[in-house]
Amino acid sequence: MMLSACIPEPENPTIELSESSQLAQVRDWFEANKTKLRLPERGTNFRTESQELILPFFEKEPDWEQFHHYFFPDGREVFEVSLENATKYFPASMLDSFPDRDVKELVIQNIMFISHPTEQRFDPVIARYYPDGEGSIEDFEGIYYDGIPHDWSGVVDIWTYDERHFIGFTFENGEVVGHFKYSPLTSTGEQARIAGDCIQITREISNNYTDSNGIVVVVPPTIVVQTFCSGSGGYTPGGGSGDGRDYHDYQRPPCCDDPVTAPPRDVPPYEPPSLPTPKTIIMQLTNPCAADIFKELSKGSAYLTDMTGLGSLDIFPGMLDLFEQSGQFDYRIRNGNTGSQAGGSTSPIVNGVITITLSDDYLRTATSLSIARTIIHETVHAYLLKQAKIQTDMNTVQLLNEYWKEYPENLPDTHHALMSQYVLGMAVSLYNWDKKYGPTGGSLGFDYYYKMAFGGLLKDGTEVPLDEVKNLIPSGSSWSEISKILENEATGNYNANGEKCN
């Protein structure tokens, strides 16, 4: 009788399509279709009677070596590529904001290729980023539509591929404070506000000449930079504040001779894609209350006045600084479905980004005090993941490794064991937040915030605190009492001292 053992075949390594090869597909598509990317004309008098704000068209030359790759919330894929054109447009106001600078160099100009949801094509738009001060000057890597720096101020202006104004977003300190679309002057002839009406063109003027022998003498060309600003007789930005809409569609302003049947044109048509509001790099919370708490925590707040020497232990702003200092803004906070009962979760590093997700269910019931605690707790996780990655603070990495040996194959326990050393700092962050922004003005007594800082420091899969944490429980208190405080705040029940966030 023969006995045969079945030895499973090793899994074949999977081959993933690289970003570069995906970008090559976009480039091929663009080269094949760029002459067709025009909106239909309205009629023979289009240019003179159109109510649209249209800039002169110029050839788009993407720099395919520089691109960002991301997805809109609805799943459409986006490749945002640097535009290396000699022509740049910017508001005249930038000449005042940066009197001693070459304003052209401060404008980031990209072309966004947005995948069509059903057809095999991309609908491009042009994105221009205008900073409003020295603190908002960014390079290509530092700003893009899905990654506006969390403290950026300026305008993100979107144009169709054939240079019709689509929409503009005004940012102040990382928040969208309004959006606008250009509309025709009012019938009363009101003067237009100046915006988007300067053009700086760089030209090369050849100095070559033919000598007496008929030979062309090559001489270095003269580079001429010319700036033209219209300033008057332009258009008034219309539209208003951030109205919370998820997506914005391109709308052609009404025209004198509408409706006009558009002349026949080649297939496929160019349709400017609908766009979500640009996202800040860090704060992507759509729950307004949670968003406010995050912004307040990140500003830092008043030092403790009743416990001298501990005020500087507010660890939250410093932890965010670590992400900012790296220059890559690899921290995100959002809300959604965490897939568990927990109020928050922190992802591994994916495509360079650590994402914290606050549970929507949790945000519906929790007090603002609980949410602030959760944001602090998850940010410590993100901070520890970051430290392990960049390995600049070897003390922290070595501590992580030592706890890992005690809790092998269990990163939650490893992190929470090390987090026991941050309990005081987390409590200070929470107290400082409540003192300046929170519901009780810091009136609960430091002991309450300290106990809240123990939230989540449990043995993985249990309701039992880790050994490292047990030693820190204040004398006279019990884990049961701490657990009750956390539950009260997380559910916003009548025993909670905080206020519900919804």
Binding site: I7, P10, P13, P408, P412
Partner: protein, 175 residues
């Protein structure tokens, strides 16, 4: 009668032959040194016992994520620092050898009471381990459990003893 006896004898002869010839189909065994590595992987663990599946796992595609840009850099990977060039070289070599991982039996008798083998795949706390891959003075063990994946790295000291060097968490859930 004689014919029956002959047939029975022949049957047993063939059985013996095939048992010997099926030697090549028996799983290869872990070496003594590999058992030393496994033992020292959990020496400092707080848990009183560690449950591991009684077979090692062969190559699985998630193991390659060790070298992903999200995890691996010139400075190190996980909690492992590349200050010493030898460890970085070992990781480079590991990238090729990981494909050679085979399924082998882990004999509980060759391990201390701390590590218990289990034949039940679905036990929630069971860890599925690869056989240790030994490269120079370093050894690597890939580990998979229900919600986490990681790599253990051990280093042989000057006395030839395996000591836990560093860990590399690859997949996990943090709350």
């Amino acid at each position: 009668m004689e014919k029956s006896v002959i047939k029975i004898c022949l049957f047993f002869v063939f059985l013996l032959i095939f048992q010997n010839e099926s030697f090549g189909q028996r799983k290869a065994e872990l070496t003594e040194e590999q058992y030393n590595v496994l033992e020292n992987t959990y020496r400092k663990a707080k848990e009183k016992t560690i449950d591991v599946y009684y077979h090692t796992i062969p190559f699985e595609s998630w193991m390659q994520s060790l070298w992903n840009e999200d995890n691996y850099s010139d400075m190190g990977v996980g909690f492992c620092s590349f200050k010493e060039p030898d460890i970085k070289l070992a990781f480079s070599e590991l990238k090729k050898q990981v494909f050679d991982l085979e399924e082998k039996e882990i004999y509980w008798k060759k391990l201390s009471d701390k590590i218990k083998t289990s034949k039940r795949k679905k036990r929630s706390k069971v860890s599925f381990l690869s056989e240790p891959i030994i490269i120079g003075d370093y050894s690597f063990v890939f580990s998979r459990s229900v919600d986490q994946k990681s790599v253990h790295v051990l280093k042989k000291d000057t006395l030839g003893k395996w000591k836990y060097e560093c860990g590399v968490p690859l997949e996990f859930e943090l709350h």
